[in-house]
Amino acid sequence: MTDSGGGPDLQELGRKLLTAIFGAQSALKLYPVENETVQHAITELHTLVDGIVKQEGAAEVRVVGDFFFLNETRLRLDLSNFSTFGAFAGALSGHGIGAVEIIHGVERSEWAPFISMLLRPAAEAEPFAHFSERLAEAPVKHITVRPSTEVEEPHEDEEALTAAKRTYAQSVKVVQNVMGDLRIGKAVNVRKVKRSVQGIVDQVLSNESSMVTMTTLRDFDEYTFTHSVNVSIFSVIVGQRLGLERISLYELGLGALFHDIGKQRIDADIINKPGSLTDAEWAELRKHPTEGLLLLFQMHGFTDVPYRQMLMAYEHHMKVDLTGYPRNRREREPSLFSRIVAVADAFDAGTSVRSYQYEPWPPDAVLQEMRDNPARGLDPLLVKVLISATGVYPVGTLAILDTHELAVVSRVNPDPDLLHRPTVKVISDPMGFPLPEPKVVDLAQSRPDGNPVRYIIKTTDPQKYGIRVSDYLIS
């Protein structure tokens, strides 16, 4: 496992560089090159890059998986920059570019043609080769590009996936042990829980996609256990988008992992009841947030009383208008972390098969309902943040393409404007014949006329097809 490297200076310079590129991109989208705004943006970009090249000898911006690197420093995404990062990542990936290198001697005049080329629609076939050819003809001598296939080695994904599998499986086991210990009144090994959440945070920070993939494992273990881990994963992902510090992500992930812990005090027959619950059973089930709060007081091994985690357990079914449950007698505003957990909980629960709940919805339909149904009482901004992380079609969505091929969404498009055009694994041909090996297709690819090469026309229920989407994602 490698961690982010480089000093804080390069981290800061990297963020500024991406912002400057985004500024120049935006200006060139709107105005002709002679325009003052464009000129100003290009001057700013050039000055910044010139400084980096002088300091570091060269500047290479790479996109690896979900992350940007400036030389060896992984740039951190947060609320202030993820949109900027996403726009540039989208432009690069559209042309099949994995890295841009700027070497000593770069001139100010090279930027406008380079960025203009990035803004043009990518070629349908061999986009990188086309881009390279045009770049060779352009007056751009000190900016070079490398294809994404060279940058993102397949084994890195495999390693990340294996690490994610390990983290996921360990976390589920830890939750299983915790829940079991609580049911029989045994002391909980909190250290293992902490280690597990630290693993989730590290994995999300190093390779978010791999961890999201794990949440598609619907029958890996009992719902209660996998759901707790999934909610922890999605909460950490949302927290990361908000720019929370690593330690805060841990706090969030820990609370999310424990959010349903109160169910251990609810009659197992109610928790596991197939079909609908009676009013009395619902009333009983609605006690679990309070029971969770109380149970966490019994758990030792925390440096301090885990108040924040208690609030997440207690408030995750409270709506933003304070309806929901439990009901409040004193003034209260659910904490941000609780609202994050509520969003993550709603998403994972909606896409899962649960004993007392309806059939699962396709992930995109769940997101849409979370976004559009105010009765849900979810924080609309946090739902937006979740969608910006999961895309309109979250990983694991089973989709029918316009070609009538069946495909599983495997990766979110990092460009915020292209969240509805993810990367998919096509699993069957238009006649319904399963492909021997799933074919990876980037739905962001466009034809010269700007229309997409392929697009999703419908999402559907994997159960209808007897499909376990994770079979195509974790192999």
Binding site: M1, L79, M310, R330, S335, L336, P434, Y472, I474
Partner: protein
């Protein structure tokens, strides 16, 4: 940077060529690291000794990087190895670097160039923090994880990995089922398209069919206003008083009378939380808990008798002398920093058993503001717990008994008489004195007999106070005793203050009946030589006459108005002035 080590891995069997490794230099580095570790432990940040060891360690690292690209060593229970060579060993586990890492599962550590410039302080801080951890709290791995170091890496035995099966992909879809389902879905879509073309309603009811309007980025892209709002939410979250929010939740649920067991559980939690708050100096939070408990105790139907008893038990617990002692200690140590009003707000909840320690503290505390707060608090508690205060009059501790007597007097607690009478016979003069003063304040006739005995108290100040007490009480039955004292030799041997006290008390309590005796002492010449009483006796008698306020007494004083003894003359005039 964290990596999981294979639990089976150990230094043995490594194919290192020790002769190429700078073993001696690494040994020296670990010796210096051990010293820097101890210096970090013993001295504060600005101490030059600590600074010297840290600088020395930096030098060791710098020198090492000319020979190694990184330093990776294996950690044993007592020893650290570079390859197969031991580079560190500590007999004692207490300060052993090896054991510090080993006990929490770390088996290999790696230092990278740059640690000496960027993270040495962090690294030494981590070691210190890890050394101080209590077993049931965090471990070194958590501290290392939180420190997020970039120039230090470690491998550890991963306990989570035991018995975990990794998820594996299944065989994928069944061909026939997939074909059938896709065909059915195609047909369904075709029907819907057809319906849409014909403008039929059911066409719109296809939520899983993609609609272009779903891709309007404003629906899911955060605009700058959204981002500002979220940033401010994060700031709010980070400064949120989560403890108060949890307490509100607990009290919301405690207020629900429908679940008595849960109420008991919550009361149990609050009982544990209170000392926790106080130990962390959170006096206001503790006060709020007490305030809420009192409110719920008074709220009709909120608690049944058992819950009320449990709630009161919490207040009893916090009012024990031990708890109050801890509170005082925390105030003196500065663990609790509270304003006078905050402290007063807390103390008002304490029960009667808190009186004794608070009374004692209020007597001995040097800090005037604190003393005022404590005195106000004890008055408040005593006001609600009069019996408890009276009981303190029998307290063995003389300081408490005396303070209780004073307080009983201040508060005019009439029922304190019998206890006060016992207290008048206390072994400690200060206590007897306080009891005498209390008796005066209480005008407690029931203690008169006990008070009379104090006129012969071995302690002068008590005797004087007792005489003054009778004077203040105008207790005429004592006049006979005082008369006897005045006639005795004892009073002649007493100092002037005591004489004055006794004579004034006699004048006050005997009234007109006392003129003859006092006139005789002031004006009569006795014996063959016509010798007068001593100057002090005559002066005291004059003051005693001044207390009688009758024409006879005044006449007796006027006879001595021009006495040749200036001291007598002066006191006669004073008595006449007071009489007028």
């Amino acid at each position: 940077m964290t990596e999981n080590a294979d639990p089976a891995s150990a230094p043995e069997g490594l194919d290192w060529e020790d002769d190429r490794l700078p073993v001696e230099r690494v040994r020296s580095l670990f010796v210096t690291l051990g010293k820097a570790f101890r210096a970090h432990q013993l001295y504060d940040e600005n101490n030059p000794v600590r600074h010297r060891f840290v600088e020395s360690l930096k030098g060791e690292f710098r020198a090492l990087w000319s020979e190694l690209e990184r330093l990776s060593v294996h950690v044993g229970e007592e020893r650290i190895y570079l390859g197969e060579s031991e580079v560190y060993h500590s007999e004692s586990r207490k300060d052993s670097l090896a054991f510090l890492f080993f006990k929490d599962g770390v088996r290999e550590i790696t230092f990278l160039p740059g640690i000496e410039e960027h993270e040495l302080g962090t690294f030494l801080g981590v070691l210190q923090k890890a050394r101080k951890l209590i077993p049931e709290s965090d471990d070194l791995l958590t501290v290392l994880w939180e420190a997020e170091m970039r120039y230090f890496r470690y491998q550890y035995v991963d306990l989570l990995a035991e018995g975990v099966e990794l998820p594996e992909a299944g065989p994928g879809a069944d061909k026939d089922l997939l074909q059938r389902a896709l065909a059915a879905e195609d047909e369904e879509m075709a029907t819907q398209e057809q319906a849409a073309a014909q403008g039929r309603e059911e066409a719109a009811d296809t939520p899983q069919t993609v609609q272009q309007e779903d891709f309007n980025p404003t629906l899911y892209v955060l605009d700058p206003r959204d981002m500002d709002a979220l940033r401010s939410e994060i700031q709010k979250e980070m400064s949120r008083d989560t403890r108060t929010d949890v307490l509100k939740a607990l009290f919301d649920r405690l207020e629900e009378s429908g679940n008595r067991e849960r109420q008991s559980e919550i009361l149990g939690i609050l009982e544990v939380l209170l000392p926790n708050f106080l130990s962390r100096g959170k006096l206001v939070a503790a006060t709020n808990v007490l305030l809420e408990l009192r409110r719920l105790e008074e709220l009709e139907g909120a608690f049944d008798e058992q819950r009320k008893a449990e709630s009161r038990g919490i207040l009893d617990e916090i009012s024990t002398p031990e708890a109050v002692g801890e509170l005082m200690q925390a105030l003196y140590a500065g663990t609790i920093r509270a304003s006078s009003s905050q402290l007063s707000n807390f103390l008002q909840f304490l029960r009667g058993q808190a009186l004794a320690p608070l009374l004692k503290e209020s007597e001995v505390v040097q800090h005037q503001e604190l003393q005022t707060v404590l005195r106000t608090a004890v008055q408040g508690i005593a006001g609600k717990n009069r019996e408890a205060l009276i009981a303190l009059l029998d307290e063995d501790d003389p300081l408490i008994a005396a303070a209780a007597a004073k307080l009983a007097a201040e508060m005019r607690i009439a029922g304190a008489g019998p206890a006060l009478a016992r207290l008048l016979a206390h072994a400690e003069p200060d206590v007897r004195l306080a009891a005498v003063e209390a008796a005066v304040a209480l005008k407690a006739a029931s203690v008169a007999h006990a008070l009379e005995e104090r006129l012969e108290d071995p302690e002068r100040s008590v005797r004087i106070a007792a005489a003054r007490a009778f004077q203040a009480l105008h207790y005429s039955p004592v006049a006979r005793t005082l008369s006897g004292m005045i006639r005795s030799k004892v009073i002649r041997n007493a100092d002037i203050s005591e004489k004055v006290a006794v004579f004034e008390a006699y004048g006050t309590t005997a009234g007109a009946d006392g003129v003859s005796l006092l006139d005789g002492i002031l004006n009569r010449r006795g014996g063959l030589l016509g010798k007068r009483e001593s100057t002090e006796m005559r002066a005291a008698a004059a003051l005693g006459l001044g207390r009688i306020h009758t024409p006879e007494a005044r006449a007796a004083l006027e006879k001595a108005a021009h006495d040749e003894d200036p001291v007598v003359r002066s006191n006669v005039r004073r008595a006449l002035r007071e009489d007028a």
